[in-house]
């Protein structure tokens, strides 16, 4: 919508209603094209997941999969564009909220922080080769040993 308001008036008038609708649709669909996938190593048991549970996994509040094995969480740095997108779009949170929870644990001896990765390649490599691993990528399908993680 902000882009639309930037367009000069005459420009909008010149377009037919159909084109305008097309443009609006495009504006809505673009963010979806950049959506982020949550991925897990194939060793992770298939379980029913909710948004709440997914948040708890990444916040390191829920540390065990349904088979009782310990989760291994991988993330990018707080100011990484992918991390910002992920917390906002996938967890419905903000990076500083996750940081608050992790810091409270790390500096009071009540928990550990997730493992940091620098690049998407490193994320792929870690998730593919680490048992019980979970992380996120721009496109997570089509890799060996990696499965998409879904929640309702």
């Amino acid at each position: 919508m902000t882009l639309l308001t930037l367009l000069p008036k005459f420009f909008i008038v010149a377009f037919s209603k159909k084109l305008l609708l097309g443009f609006l649709l495009y504006a809505v669909l673009v963010p979806v094209a950049f959506s982020i996938d949550i991925i897990v190593n194939t060793s992770v048991p298939i379980q029913r997941n909710s948004l709440n549970k997914t948040r708890a996994i990444f916040a390191q509040q829920l540390n065990y999969w349904s088979n009782g094995e310990k989760t291994r969480v991988f993330i990018f740095k707080d100011d990484h564009p992918l991390h910002k997108q992920f917390t906002k779009n996938k967890l419905n949170m903000f990076p500083h909220q996750l940081r608050r929870v992790w810091d409270r644990m790390v500096f009071s001896g009540t928990g550990q922080a997730p493992d940091l990765v620098e690049t998407e390649e490193e994320m792929l490599e870690k998730i593919a080769n680490t048992k019980n691993a979970i992380g996120y990528l721009t496109k997570g399908s089509g890799y060996e040993n990696i499965r998409l993680f879904e929640y309702e």
Partner: protein
């Protein structure tokens, strides 16, 4: 000399600092079960009157240094060991010491669909309000000085950590998450500030703490967007009087009840806490047995202009004894009336230069002297009722 107070850090501080830097450089070589984190904070204070963390009055005091280094080792899936060493110096209250801040074993006992139960044993941080468990970690605090009415710095040793055990429960529901902690342990009881606060700066004996109960229930919604908590502590201090002193071996109980609420939005943050504390002193002879209630609350708002820059404003008020909000009793004891209360307006700016380097500054306009440390202000008759305080902080973490 007066202007800079004492800058010389003890050997321990330097050693700790060097260790921190060298370990940070090798963090990547560690096995995955081990995590190491740390922080280093230096604060500077300047005040128009009254001293805060050293000689800040009409000078600049580099009066507070905090260096922490922690290790966490996941020995088994359900068993974790962790410990943190803390070097701290704060004005004349703490001239520099290294202490084991926490050192514990954490055993996850039971997991179910929506939560878990576990126990911890060893030296454990005391859960109290929004900030106490990580009160020495600048990055986790909203401001350089925490609201002093709730998080007294001068009697902090009673509140930092205790040796004992803890039971914790976490339960998730579709309408928010609950967490509960019940700690039982021996807190550090003795220091001159506590003696000065409870008895008199002239007391010569020693306080010892009995095992204390610390418990907290916390409710949070939307992954911590809204947080509500109630914390309660039951602490008893026994006094062992020295020979030839006016005070006999009495005891004091301190029972603070604290209500907390917090909102963490994308840009806007809000926090408020209300403290109601029952105090009871008995059998000291030289001072009459007394019961009193301390009350304090604050309300705080912050705004993130951009993700690295945050502004914060807070109002805080403290009455040491609600029966004597204007300080008449204090005058009867020969103390200035403003020792009974404080009201503090605070304005601050925080700049996160990188995710591991932070700098901030704050200004306080304060009415009253209730939370001033005795060690920094030996002669109370020289303290002023209305004063300004400026603080600057640089902090690094990894």
């Amino acid at each position: 000399m007066k202007i800079y107070g004492y800058l010389n850090m003890s050997r321990w501080g330097l050693l700790f600092c060097a260790l921190l830097i060298s370990i940070n450089g090798q963090a990547e070589l560690l096995p995955e079960e081990i995590q190491i984190h740390g922080f280093l904070t230096q604060d500077f204070f300047h005040s128009s009157d009254n001293n805060v963390n050293g000689l800040s009055d009409d000078g600049i005091s580099p009066g507070r240094t905090e260096i922490g280094l922690n290790i966490s080792y996941q020995a088994f899936d359900r068993l974790t060991f962790s410990a943190q060493g803390l070097y701290r110096r704060a004005g004349y209250v703490d001239k520099g010491s290294v202490r084991l801040d926490y050192g514990l074993a954490d055993l996850n006992l039971f997991n179910y669909q929506n939560g878990h139960i576990g126990i911890r044993g060893g030296r454990i941080k005391i859960p109290f309000g929004l900030y106490n468990e990580t009160r020495d970690v600048a990055f986790t605090n909203p401001t350089i000085l925490l609201p002093q009415g709730v998080y007294f710095d001068r009697s902090r040793s009673l509140f930092t950590s205790a040796d004992g055990g803890s039971l914790y429960v976490q339960h998730r529901t579709d309408w928010g998450d609950f967490s509960f902690k019940f700690n039982y342990g021996l807190a550090l009881g003795n220091n001159e500030e506590i003696m000065a606060t409870i008895l008199s700066p002239d007391a010569k004996g020693e306080f010892k703490a009995n095992p204390a109960i610390a418990t907290q229930i916390m409710y949070d919604l939307n992954g911590g967007e809204y947080v509500f908590a109630v914390s309660y502590l039951d602490l008893k201090l026994k006094y062992h009087s020295a020979d030839n002193e006016v005070f006999s071996s009495g005891y004091t109980t301190i029972r603070p009840l604290l209500f907390s609420a917090q909102y963490n939005g994308e840009k806007l943050g809000l926090a408020a806490e209300y403290l109601y504390r029952w105090n009871h002193s008995k059998n000291y002879d030289a001072i009459p047995d007394n019961r009193s209630i301390t009350e304090s609350w604050f309300i705080q708002g912050s705004y993130r202009f951009i993700s690295q820059l945050q502004g914060i404003v807070r109002y805080e008020t403290l009455s040491l004894t609600i029966d004597d909000r204007s300080g008449n009793y204090a005058v009867a004891f020969g103390l200035p009336k403003h020792i009974a209360y404080s009201k503090d307006w605070m304005l601050g700016l925080r700049w996160d230069i990188t995710s591991s380097l932070m700098m901030r500054t704050e200004y306080h306009r304060i009415h009253g002297t209730a939370w001033l440390a005795q060690a920094d202000n030996q002669d109370r008759s020289k303290t002023r009722e209305n004063w300004n305080l400026y603080a600057l902080q640089v902090s690094y973490r990894f």
